[in-house]
């Protein structure tokens, strides 16, 4: 029976059917990937671009990045600290949502956009200490309306950067200094070690 099926598939009709099948599978897959790359719906349509363009620093709302693993999300107190002094809070329909959350003491359930699986222990502090800027990984938030993730955050992406920054090449060690070279090697061992992120 399976042999018959194969013979039919080799006939012109069969080939068309295979083509259609393959196309539909492919387009479904493409659609699936497309949807996952869209910013998710958030409880409050928070505009990163407006806040960043007004001059609010990233670390004002996400100060944990400077101290530890997680940058954290701002408390409602922090939102309200500014917004209660802004006249627009009472008029804008978008901000009415925030007002509702704060005044009725409802917790906001944000949907994270940049997230690694739970077997990866990513820490923000060492990356900031190494001189990285927020936008290196999270993109330029002054151009983004609702937060989205510009990056596919997988291990290859992490390791490429770790390798680049510790490679013993002209860029990292222009004078070919053996001391710097040893230091780079040590860093490289640490930054490509499985146990640095997985435990």
């Amino acid at each position: 029976m399976i042999k018959k099926l194969f013979e039919w598939l080799l006939s012109p009709m069969g080939r068309v059917a295979v083509l259609i099948g393959a196309l539909s599978v492919f387009s479904l897959a493409a659609y699936g990937i497309y949807t996952t790359q869209q910013p998710p719906e958030q409880p409050i349509a928070f505009r990163h671009d407006i806040h960043v363009n007004l001059g609010v620093q990233c670390l004002y709302c996400h100060p944990g990045a400077l101290r530890g693993a997680s940058p954290g999300l701002p408390t409602q107190n922090k939102c309200w600290g500014c917004h209660q002094q802004i006249a627009k809070t009472n008029t804008s329909p978008r901000l009415a949502v925030l007002k509702d959350y704060v005044q009725n003491n409802k917790p906001v359930q944000w949907v994270p956009v940049a997230q690694v699986p739970d077997f990866v222990h990513f820490k923000h502090r060492p990356h900031i200490a190494a001189g990285l800027n927020c936008e290196t990984c999270h993109g330029d938030m002054s151009k983004v309306e609702i937060a989205e993730n510009p990056q596919v955050m997988n291990m290859g992406w992490c390791l490429n950067c770790h390798r680049d920054r510790t490679a013993d090449n002209v860029q990292n060690n222009p004078d070919n200094d053996p001391g710097v070279s040893a230091l780079l090697h040590e860093k490289r061992t640490k930054l490509t070690d499985c146990g640095t992120c997985h435990y």
């Binding site: 200490a129 490429n160 061992t189 070690d193 499985c194 146990g195 640095t196 435990y199």
Partner: protein, 262 residues
């Protein structure tokens, strides 16, 4: 940069690395077998409990266990002795038998910390490493124990998730089909290294304390840098009472046991 994946080296016999990095000393004369280390380890590392039936099958998930052995069993009951308790955890061998047998490089050596790693997301559950471990220090997740309720057919009872509130966010919760073992509390090592780096200094002796050593009421466990001859752990390991378990197998374990008795 193109990916030229460097495969881990699984026999670590280069001269330069023989000194090791982290090590532990366990004084069997002081250990009272009280199980505080076992409880502390389980609480710190999200080690699940498995229930009576699976314990009877030998599926307990203890990362550290206190072994007790008899002496003089053939004699009269008055002559029977219990040899000193022996807390046994992964010995973090420099030349680890678990590493070369893993087909997916889930059991790999950490080149920077010189300990054995178990990369949970790589592990496919062949259990070769556990079979090859002479210390029987590795345990396997036969079920999703963190969600599993012993003695209940319903594997996911929502009321039971209350217990999960004390899970440590610094340690991965392992799923079914994954091998695991003692990590020397690597999350605490990283934390201390990170703090030291942010303060621009080296990690101080005694700054990294694994959960077992922290809890031990008898102070029987010492932890620290064995490549520093001045550290507490190096000094504790120096006495004539010290020995390594199964030293003749040349696994080069990082845990020194001090003999009990006089």
């Amino acid at each position: 940069m193109t990916s030229n994946l460097e495969l881990p080296v699984f026999t670590n016999n280069s001269e330069a690395e023989l000194g090791g990095k982290w090590g532990m000393v366990v004084d069997r004369d002081l250990c009272t077998g009280c199980q505080a280390c076992v409880a502390a380890c389980s609480m710190e590392n999200n080690v699940p409990f498995v229930g009576e039936t699976d314990m009877a099958y030998g599926r307990g998930m203890h990362w550290i266990r206190v072994e007790r052995l008899w002496e003089g069993l053939e004699a009269d009951y008055q002559e029977v002795k219990m040899t000193s308790y022996q807390p046994l955890m992964c010995q973090q061998c420099h030349n680890a038998p678990c590493e070369p047998v893993c087909p997916v490089y889930a059991a790999v050596h950490s080149m920077s910390e010189d300990i054995n790693l178990q990369v949970y997301n790589r592990c496919v559950g062949t259990r070769y490493c556990a079979n090859n471990c002479p210390y029987q220090a590795r345990v396997f997740n036969w079920r999703d124990y963190t969600d599993y309720r012993p003695g209940n057919t319903a594997d996911n009872d929502p009321s039971w998730s209350v217990l999960q509130n004390h899970l440590n966010p610094d340690v991965t919760v392992r799923r079914r089909g994954v091998m695991e073992k003692c990590t020397f509390c690597i999350q605490r090592i990283h934390k201390a290294e990170d703090t030291a780096k942010s303060e621009g200094r080296d990690v101080r002796d005694g700054e990294v304390v694994p959960a077992c050593a922290q809890a031990c009421p008898a102070n029987a466990i010492t932890f620290g840098r064995i490549d520093d001859p001045e550290s507490m752990v190096s000094k504790a390991a120096e006495t004539s009472r010290g020995s390594l378990l199964l030293e003749e197998m040349r696994t080069q374990p990082r845990v020194t046991y001090l003999a009990g008795g006089a």
